[in-house]
């Protein structure tokens, strides 16, 4: 290469407007070749937008991009791919009814005899890659049948399969387990040893500390600073990003649980391929209690949530709230019985992306008297409610009530869902990965909202792959492994290591 010393990526004074909203205001980014560079900022700060510009998905309204020291006009992703830039998006771009292998090779198909798809060879290449980097995937499963975590791994493999030199990862770890994150960090280090360059967007400060050499911070579209990660603390990073002090651990009073209101008895659920994913699982939640389910992705969480919400059929067992049996009824009935759900896949299950934010905020309640009278929508009331929710949950930008949900950043989309699900004071909140993709400031806020919900005498079933979140928020912790609850503790009874071991299928040291 002619320009050995040049930075792999240099973005100078980038501007981007959406209508009159300035999403990026003179942002700079310099990424040294062979380094791992983190991009940190609150939800809606403009990280994804900046990377979409680098990847040629958006055209900047001002500024310059240099790749290996040479100015490049990133007209479209093809130009980016020519320059060996690859991107794993925050919201996956996978074909739902294609298999893992088909998705990975899409656009780069291996052919034999000139035109016949050589799936066997492609499959082998993919599997080799998957083995080399320790990214476990089930090559023949359809995307719609696998967990979000595995979908994420498919996306990473897809980029690697294209032989990229500069890899952009937009919140790749939002859904990975601690173990998987460690593996990913190793993979990233391997890649940079090969001379590849990685830009990673993440809200997890720990991860930045573990993986990255440099970190660029942006706040509300403005460039704040680039720091050497080694020389700053997590707390410093957090306050640089938010612009104020944040507490990384939530404060909460001891739980005061009442009667059991929700229970699951001997539940068995199969997935689309008739494989049992939840096996004779039983649990209960009391009034005024937060029960957390710890577990590695793929141990039945998805099926459990779908069974409770009646999005899938139950093979055997009972689910009931306040005595009303829910299994194999309808999602409508579940909602009517006071269960609100934050789904794992926010864009599929949580939002109507092309509806304005204000309509998304009433998706379950559009029929209620405060929003509709005689079947006519009360627009002013809906708008007012949206404005209130936007203010209460700090959804940005503030004037987004009539904007389509699609225009919001990932984290702000999540806040819309949380605002909606808590708005009706549900008896039971089923929270599946509720803080996925949220920044530390927002997480602090959501956690305290959950605790407030509990303190007002309601119940929460929290399912999360973030062990920290489970440990911090839950009053009682159930460990899920292979479709079964294998252990149960009160908060503070055990430490992370022991739970981590149980999550991975280990035996409990002192027996149950």
């Amino acid at each position: 290469m002619k320009n050995q010393q040049a930075d792999a990526v240099e973005m100078q004074s980038i501007y981007k407007y959406f209508d009159n909203f300035c999403a990026l205001n003179a942002v700079n980014l310099k990424v040294r070749r062979g380094s791992i560079h983190a991009l940190l900022g609150e939800n809606g700060a403009g990280k994804t937008t900046l990377m979409n510009i680098l990847y040629g998905l958006y055209r900047p309204d001002g500024g310059k991009i240099l790749i290996n020291g040479e100015p490049v006009e990133m007209k479209n992703p093809n130009v980016a791919i020519e320059h060996k830039i690859g991107m794993v998006h925050q919201h996956f771009k996978l074909v739902e009814n294609f298999t893992v292998v088909q998705n990975i090779i899409l656009g780069q198909e291996v052919v034999k005899a000139g035109c016949v798809l050589d799936l066997a060879r492609a499959r082998k290449q993919v599997m080799d890659l998957s083995k080399t980097y320790g990214l476990a995937v089930d090559p023949d499963a359809k995307i719609e049948d696998i967990s979000v975590g595995m979908q994420q791994r498919v996306e990473i493999l897809k980029a690697l399969y294209r032989g990229v030199e500069i890899l952009i990862l937009d919140e790749p770890t939002a859904v990975l387990t601690p173990q998987e994150i460690n593996e990913l960090v190793n993979i990233m280090h391997n890649l940079t040893e090969d001379g590849k360059t990685i830009i990673i967007i993440t809200h997890k400060l720990k991860e930045i500390k573990k993986s990255s050499e440099y970190c660029t911070i942006i706040r509300r579209g403005k460039y704040i600073d680039t720091v050497v990660v080694k020389s700053v603390s997590e707390q410093q990073l957090a306050s640089m990003m938010v612009g104020r002090e944040v507490s990384l651990v939530v404060a909460k009073a001891k739980a005061d649980p009442g009667d059991i209101i929700f229970r699951i008895d001997n539940l068995t659920v199969e997935d689309n391929r008739k494989i049992e994913r939840v096996k004779e699982l039983s649990l209960y939640v009391k009034r005024g209690e937060i029960v957390g389910i710890a577990g590695i992705d793929g141990n039945g969480q998805k099926e459990l949530v779908e069974a409770i919400t009646c999005l899938t059929k139950v093979k055997a067992g009972k689910i009931s709230i306040n005595g009303a049996e829910l299994q194999n009824t309808s999602p409508h009935y579940v909602v009517e019985n006071g269960i609100a759900t934050i789904h794992e896949d926010r864009q599929k299950r949580g939002l109507v992306l092309d509806f304005p934010v204000k309509y998304n905020l009433i998706l379950e309640n559009y029929n209620k008297p405060q929003f509709a009278g005689r079947s006519i929508l009360k627009e002013p009331a809906i708008h007012q409610f949206a404005e209130d929710s936007i203010r209460r949950y700090d959804i940005r930008p503030e004037d987004c009530a009539s904007e389509p949900a699609r225009a919001l950043s990932g984290g702000n989309q999540q806040k819309v869902i949380i605002a909606r699900e808590l708005s009706e004071n549900p008896e039971l909140l089923l929270a599946f990965q509720p803080t996925r993709g949220l920044d530390v400031g927002a997480i602090e806020f959501i956690h305290s909202a959950l605790i407030k919900h509990r303190d007002s005498g309601h119940s929460i079933l929290l399912i999360s792959f973030e062990l920290d979140e489970i440990m911090n928020v839950s009053d009682r912790i159930c460990v899920l492994y292979d479709g079964r609850i294998v252990a149960e503790f009160l908060q503070g009874e055990v430490d992370e290591n022991e739970i981590g071991l149980l999550m991975a299928g280990g035996e409990r040291k002192n027996g149950i």
Partner: protein, 376 residues
């Protein structure tokens, strides 16, 4: 200036008007290639429509069913369904109208309302059948509605072949009773005073007697406004649009997706059925006619909805445009020998450019970008 253009380009209406202009340009090109002067042809199309009030009224008469079938398709589109069944639903609506209007003797106005309700219900159920098959068994509505089109056509012809319904030695069924016709000044114009008055005012007689001038188009416009209201102002509209935009999220939120699909197809079918009913009450012979091929209004509806980008109000205008083009196209064929297929080319191009309207958004973005760069 640049910013104004950019903003204007982003409006749906502007995009559609641009598409129409491009359609006319493509038509001109096609005419030129075929050896006809585009100017002459277009002016002939134009003048043929405006040369006489009868012709203008003829266009409006053609417009009525196109608005309603357009609404039918647009409504289904908004909820994520593709209703190709307009033809069959139109026929079923016409059958219901003739059965009710030809048998019962009800007081005026009420009879028309009853006929419309009957047609809406019958055609609605016919559409809902396709919706039910989709909701229950996952059979795609495109397939079922196409089949239902042919079933309706043969049902129509079969009914006419029955002695109690068909009029002997004709291709017609019995007709709707005259007091249920929706023609303008229906009873009066054939009464002795009416005839005397028309004899004294020769300018009016070709309009009232020479055409099927009727109230259908007014009803169709009212229905378009009602559909728009239903879609954008009611909880039902909210619900079906949510299902259309993201079925999975709607389902998770407790919206009954299957019920919504059936209801949507019921309304879509009912709207196309209204077209059939008003055609029966408004135009000669006010009776069912043996059909050799599909009447064509259902398919026109697809064009109308596509051109209007599924906006119910937009359907009023695109139906008018389509009808005018079809009418004008036939006159250039008659008078110049120019191919009336030119009209199909124009319509095709318009639909194409409405469909790729995002292109205009891109142009708008580019203009804006240039402006920002200049501002730097």
């Amino acid at each position: 200036m640049g910013s104004k253009i950019a903003e204007l380009l982003n409006k749906t209406a502007t995009k559609i008007i641009l598409a129409i202009v491009l359609g006319f340009m493509a038509g001109a090109l096609a005419l030129a290639v075929a050896g006809y002067d585009p100017g002459t042809s277009y002016s002939m199309m134009f003048t043929s429509i405006f040369s006489s009030p009868q012709n203008m009224i003829q266009v409006l008469i053609l417009t009525m069913p196109n608005i309603l079938t357009g609404l039918s398709v647009a409504f289904a589109f908004k909820t994520g369904l593709f209703n190709i069944g307009g033809e069959g639903q139109y026929i079923v609506g016409a059958i219901a109208a003739v059965m009710v209007g030809g048998v019962f003797n009800l007081p005026p106005v009420i009879n028309v309302i009853v006929i419309m309700l009957a047609a809406f219900l019958a055609a609605g159920l016919y559409g809902a059948l396709a919706g039910f098959l989709k909701a229950k068994f996952g059979i795609h509505e495109v397939i079922t509605t196409i089949m239902l089109n042919w079933i309706a056509l043969y049902l129509n012809n079969y009914l006419i072949s029955l002695p109690g319904i068909g009029v002997k030695n004709t291709e017609y069924s019995f007709a709707i009773k005259q007091n249920a016709w929706t023609n303008v000044l229906n009873g009066w114009k054939t009464s002795p005073q009416g005839q005397a008055y028309l004899a004294a005012h020769p300018a009016l007689s070709p309009i009232l007697l020479g055409t099927d001038i009727n109230y259908g188009i007014i009803i169709a416009i009212v229905v378009a406004v009602a559909v728009s209201f239903l879609l954008y102002r009611t909880t039902f509209g909210y619900q079906v649009r949510a299902v259309g935009l993201n079925k999975d999220a709607a389902e998770a939120a407790g919206i009954r997706v299957k019920k919504s699909i059936v209801m949507t197809m019921f309304i879509a079918g009912g709207l196309a059925g209204l077209a059939g009913a008003l055609q029966m009450t408004g135009t000669l012979p006010h009776a069912l006619v043996t059909l050799a091929s599909q009447p064509g209004y259902g398919f026109n509806g697809i064009t109308v909805a596509l051109m209007a980008n599924s906006s119910p109000i937009g359907c009023i205008f695109t139906a008018l445009l389509l009808s005018a083009l079809q009418f004008g196209g036939s006159t250039i064929q008659m008078n110049l020998g120019a191919p009336s297929e030119v009209v199909n080319i124009m319509i095709g191009v318009i639909v194409f450019f409405v469909a790729v309207a995002s292109m205009f958004t891109m142009i708008s973005e580019r203009i804006k970008r240039r402006r920002v760069k200049i501002a730097d």
